[in-house]
């Protein structure tokens, strides 16, 4: 299987702190890969390093075979990578429509994708003129994912989509992410192991800034010792 994203041994510093000390991640084309690990292990920083918000000091990142490390964030995004950050980061004073329009890379992107997006998240159609700040947490999360679907992205980086959401909403989101994964590859950060195991085909475990294990999700579910050691859940 070919991989759309190949992260090799990256090291990232924030200020003087050495946050990532050798992380390697591979995302297969058309699949969902999940980053697992404890709080503060470096999962979010890994996503931010890929999108260029905290550029790695060493190591390499290849997207679609081309090196992208060291490029500016907006250039990386333009190659076809969508970022759905932790805590949603939707624009609260902009309407839902404006939030989606902002994500256009070519004019008309939103019009082209509107049907697909509203099919995936029917709620958004109804809320289209409301300011983003008025949406509930679940609706904001849907907007954040939808925003990443407006341009022609081939890879989505999604950070903790289930955080703070009610179980019903989480089920909706899982269904949506499963559906869209037929069209784009996904690199997911997810603390909720149940959600992660439902969605992903492969996993990478990050611990204290190192990637320590990787493989097929089906194998990990069996390996209670590994889960216990790095994730602390049985």
């Amino acid at each position: 299987m070919s991989s759309i994203l190949e992260v090799r041994d990256i090291h990232t510093f924030i200020g003087q702190f050495h946050i990532l000390e050798g992380v390697s991640v591979s995302v297969t084309t058309g699949g969902i890969t999940v980053l697992l690990g404890r709080n503060g292990a470096g999962k979010t920083t890994t996503l931010r390093s890929i999108i260029g918000l905290t550029p790695p000091a060493r190591g390499s990142i290849h997207f679609d075979g081309k090196p992208i490390q060291g490029r500016q964030s907006h250039n990386i995004a333009q190659l076809g990578i969508g970022y759905v950050p932790e805590h949603r980061a939707i624009f609260r004073s902009l309407s839902v429509r404006e939030n989606l329009q902002l994500a256009e890379r070519r004019s008309g992107d939103f019009a082209r994708k509107a049907d697909f997006i509203f099919d995936l998240f029917p709620d958004l159609k109804r809320l289209i003129e409301l300011p983003g700040g008025n949406l509930s947490g679940g609706q904001q999360q849907m907007l954040a994912v939808a925003r990443a679907l407006v341009p022609e992205n081939r890879l989505l980086l999604i950070d903790e989509p289930s955080e703070g959401l009610a179980p019903v909403i989480i089920e909706q989101l899982i269904a949506a992410i499963q559906r869209l994964s037929s069209q784009v590859s996904v690199l997911l950060v997810e603390q909720n192991f149940r959600v992660a195991s439902k969605l992903a085909q492969s996993y990478v475990i990050i611990d204290e800034g190192h990637s320590v294990a990787a493989g097929a999700m089906a194998d990990l579910v069996q390996d209670k010792a590994l889960i216990q050691r790095y994730l602390g859940v049985a």
Binding site: F13, Q16, H18, A57
Partner: protein, 367 residues
Amino acid sequence: MQSLTPSSRGGWLRGYWLPALLLVFLILFPFIVGALTESSPFGVARGDRMVMRGESVRWQSVLIEVYILAILAMSYNLLFGFTGVISFGHALFFGTAGYVLGLLLEYTALETGVALALGVLAAIAVCGALGLLIGFVTLRLKGVYFAIFTLAVAEMFFIFFGRWQLTRAEDGFAITDLPVWLDPSQSRISFYYVALALAVLTFLFIRRLVNSPTGAVFKAIRENEDRAQSMGYNTLNYKLLSITIAGMLAGVAGILQVILNKKVGPELLGVSYTVDPLLMTIIGGIGTFSGPVIGASGLHFLDVFLRDAELVIAGITIDIANIWALLLGVIFILVVIVFPFGIIGTWQRRRATRKQRAVTTGHPPSA
């Protein structure tokens, strides 16, 4: 951060020999210049009075101005360099102190010595209170509000005193009533030692303060206020302390300036007494102990030497005096961009990395 601590191997003099030598030189300075230029450090006697003439006396003035600017810059550095709070109205404290002292000396019927003592105390107290008040109003907010507020209040005071008839508006008023021992037009050398002593005391005081536990909190606030707060410190109180002390020290500089010039006027509140300490601190090195002193002396000496110089570019003669402020501004911008740590800061960093390299080999320091 500081390099003045004595090394454990040598005696205490080992670490302090340079500053000690400098202090001895400054104490002897009036006599050295006097000997070199064959002029009396006490001025020229005319009848029962001393007239302030001659090279030694003239150079004493230049150094007194350096001491005043150094105190002002050190006060600015305490606030900006060590606590990370930026003020764009330091002239406010400088000038206000001058006016308070001047008003007590010239506009009250008190006896000279009493008026002087009261004036000095009142001036310093008013500056402290002013700092506390401004800090109290703005320091809770983003740092930029403090900068704006000091800029606005300084400008308001400048306009107000520039039009206030009681203090003779733009012209200002002269100080006529000073004790002989302090009067720079009667015994400059004693005023020279007063100013030198105050500059040295300010230096030692700030070093003591910054190296104390309180100073550690100041620096923690400068690095990351949220973190300092989460460590359990009431950062507002520490910032208030810093601005109050800085205001009082700037007041001391203002008092000395008024005595030296024997004049009070709105120019004391003008933008140049804000710009000068900012410039001197940044050029010398913010957040270092000797940086502001080096910046103050360097810039003032340059000013004195270049004031009468001329520059010929492509056949056009330009008086340096006319473009002095322009040159300063350009140097200022260059330093901010190229040497943000100033002379001393850059030098200390170079030395630190050289030491580090000697100790560790392997991982290069990262951004």
